[in-house]
């Protein structure tokens, strides 16, 4: 097969040469890939490199920068706000991801049960994920309002607290509040994808395990989780990726405040680069996120490897 193609490609000047050339899979492949490749190389690969370069310059908006070596990174190294944002990002990612996983798995297990109106529940559960984050964040902004929060009001009515909670004004409360909003938005994604994984587990495995006298905890531990591990790895990688690079929620709810307590690396890089005008420094912060992201991707890669291995290793 391959040799036929090579000879065809070697003789494009014969009668119908062009059309034969178009049947060559390498030529045709390149042609078909052209639109995607042009856009991705121009607006994804090139900016990625440009970002690395900008991180080594002192470029500002409206002013060409010059190469300053590691100056941006040296500055950031001694910048307590930057380290605070790293801490916040890691805290935000770890806490939100754990909560999203636990609650998402729980919801997936519930939805995997025999339920009336299952399709309907599955559909409405996904709504928080479908709606634009900025717009649902605005709703949370109103829910977290310092004076007229519905949460504060309900808790006061129930007699649990005396004064309204200042959700977004206190550093730790603000952290908890943005994490809660993020978890709210992330649960549906985790739950629905894990549900898809759960549905591929044959019920016969559970029946066999029951006949072997296992209790339900053992069935979860030794049947469900091992069967689900590959998809958990992938889902959580995506979830971590989304959470780590989150921008919208923080930008709407707190803009990094109070006193930078909720600044994530993404919001800090935006603030320094766009309103602050220091494109170089902002790019350096963005590039500083890459090592973390790479580790997440490697995690995903090994998760996928394990999946293939479990399935008997197709290619």
């Amino acid at each position: 097969m391959t040799s036929t193609i090579t000879t065809e490609a070697a003789g494009p000047l014969r009668a119908g040469g062009i059309s034969r050339l178009l049947e060559n899979r390498n030529v045709l492949g390149a042609l078909f890939l052209l639109p995607a490749a042009v856009i991705l190389l121009l607006f994804l690969t090139y900016p990625l490199g440009l970002g690395v370069w900008l991180g080594f310059t002192d470029t500002q908006i409206g002013r060409e920068g010059i190469f300053v070596g590691l100056e941006n990174y040296e500055y950031l190294w001694s910048d307590s706000v930057f380290w605070l944002s790293v801490f916040n990002t890691v805290l935000y990612t770890v806490v939100a991801s754990i909560l999203k996983f636990a609650l998402g798995l729980w919801l997936a297990l519930i939805l995997n049960e025999r339920l009336p109106f299952k399709a309907f529940f599955r559909a409405i559960v996904l709504l928080p994920w479908v709606v634009p984050t900025v717009l649902s964040a605005i709703a949370f902004w109103w829910i977290y309002d310092a004076q007229f929060s519905i949460l504060s009001w309900s808790l006061m009515k129930l007699g649990i607290i005396d004064a309204p909670i200042n959700f977004l004004g206190d550093p730790n409360l603000a952290r908890a509040s943005v994490i809660a909003a993020n978890v709210w938005r992330g649960i549906p994604f985790v739950a629905i994808t894990l549900l898809a994984g759960l549905q591929t587990i044959p019920p016969s495995l559970y029946e066999a395990a029951m006949l072997d006298g296992t209790n339900s905890w053992q069935r979860l531990r030794y049947v469900t989780l091992p069967m689900l591990t590959p998809i958990i790895a992938v889902v959580m990688t995506f979830s971590v990726l989304f959470t780590f690079t989150d921008f919208q929620l923080i930008y709407v709810l707190t803009r990094g405040g109070p006193v930078n307590a909720t600044h994530l690396m993404a919001t800090l890089s935006f603030q320094r680069a766009i309103p602050g005008g220091h494109l170089g420094e902002g790019a350096a912060i963005a590039i500083a996120m890459v090592p973390f992201l790479l580790s997440a991707i490697l995690f995903s890669y090994f998760g996928l490897q394990r999946r293939k291995w479990q399935q008997g290793g197709r290619d």
């Binding site: 995607a36 900016p47 519930i110 409405i124 949370f140 994808t193 898809a196 587990i201 069935r219 919208q248």
Partner: protein, 298 residues
């Protein structure tokens, strides 16, 4: 906490074939109650959004005389204000134009790319496939600064083209990856028959592969449209003038004034910005779910 709860539930959580062994009262506590709480928490912000958008100004913050959970005399004032006294309708139009254009561009590029990678099997197609997957993992939060730099240089700043050309950076990898999965499921024999009948690859793609992958195309389009509709950071960075903004950016930057929060109009804006994707989603739930889970599973 949640983990222990999960285990508690699993104690009688007999999947599939053995569920008949469960008793209703137990299911009530272990299944329906948690489900009700989940549904309530997940949907409450939408309810709150809607009810706030309909409340007259005097009820908005007066929790003593009016129950905050209900509205006595619903008003459309906030919605009227939003639609006719702000630039909301132009924002809506911009969002539609940008989303549709970016989706079409991405689907076009992704169909050709996915077919090339999956079926032409040219030299290096596997590496290109992996590259596409890696491109999917590059987040906009890293790209927006260099892209802003480029957008300035290319003279695209503050135009819809800045968004139409940059949204495909996250749409194409996703759509290509999804369509590769769909194309893989189409029997190769169909294509071989067509080749023997003398069809060109382009004819095969248009006349055989595409009609068979309509569900995949719908999934990819819906998802791409929703992703463009929801995009925020590029739109915030590349667009300056009010008349070019998209809904999420417009609502946040123009309806929020530092002195007075017009919560009614804000919530109406959030509601109307969400409705198009929610309606689209409600018609194509299964496609949406399959594209989401498919992208993860592939």
């Amino acid at each position: 906490m949640a983990v222990t709860e999960t285990l508690g539930k699993k104690k009688r959580g007999d999947e599939g074939g053995a569920t008949y062994l469960e008793r209703t009262p137990r299911r009530l506590v272990t299944l329906y109650l948690p489900l009700a709480i989940f549904i309530f928490v997940l949907l409450f912000p939408f309810y709150w959004m809607t009810i706030t958008a309909l409340k007259p100004d005097n009820q908005l913050t007066d929790y003593d005389n009016y129950s905050p959970f209900w509205v006595v005399k619903p008003t459309l004032d906030h919605i009227r204000y939003l639609l006719f006294e702000t630039s909301y309708l132009p924002w809506l139009w911009n969002t539609i134009v940008v989303s549709v254009a970016a989706t079409f561009l991405s689907i076009f590029a992704a169909v050709l790319g996915a077919y090339a990678i999956e079926r032409l099997r040219f030299t290096g197609s596997r590496q290109v496939g992996l590259g596409i997957f890696l491109a999917y993992l590059v987040p906009p939060s890293i790209l927006f600064i260099p892209l802003a730099f480029m957008v300035f240089k290319l003279g695209l700043y503050d135009s819809k083209w800045a968004l139409i050309l940059t949204y495909p950076t996250f749409l194409i990898p996703f759509c290509t990856w999804l369509l590769m999965g769909y194309f893989r499921s189409i029997p190769y024999e169909l294509e071989e028959c067509a080749l023997i009948d003398g069809a060109t690859r382009l004819q095969i793609l248009v006349k055989i592969i595409l009609p068979l992958s309509v569900p995949g195309l719908i999934s990819a389009s819906i998802f791409a449209f929703t992703l463009s509709w929801n995009e925020f950071i590029y739109a915030l960075t590349f667009i300056q003038s009010s008349e070019n903004k998209t809904v999420p950016v417009g609502v946040l930057t123009e309806l929020v004034r530092s002195d007075v929060y017009e919560w009614g109009a804000l919530m109406a804006g959030a509601l109307f910005g969400s409705l198009p994707v929610v309606i689209l989603y409600s018609f194509f739930v299964d496609y949406y779910v399959s594209s989401m889970t498919g992208a993860v599973k592939e």
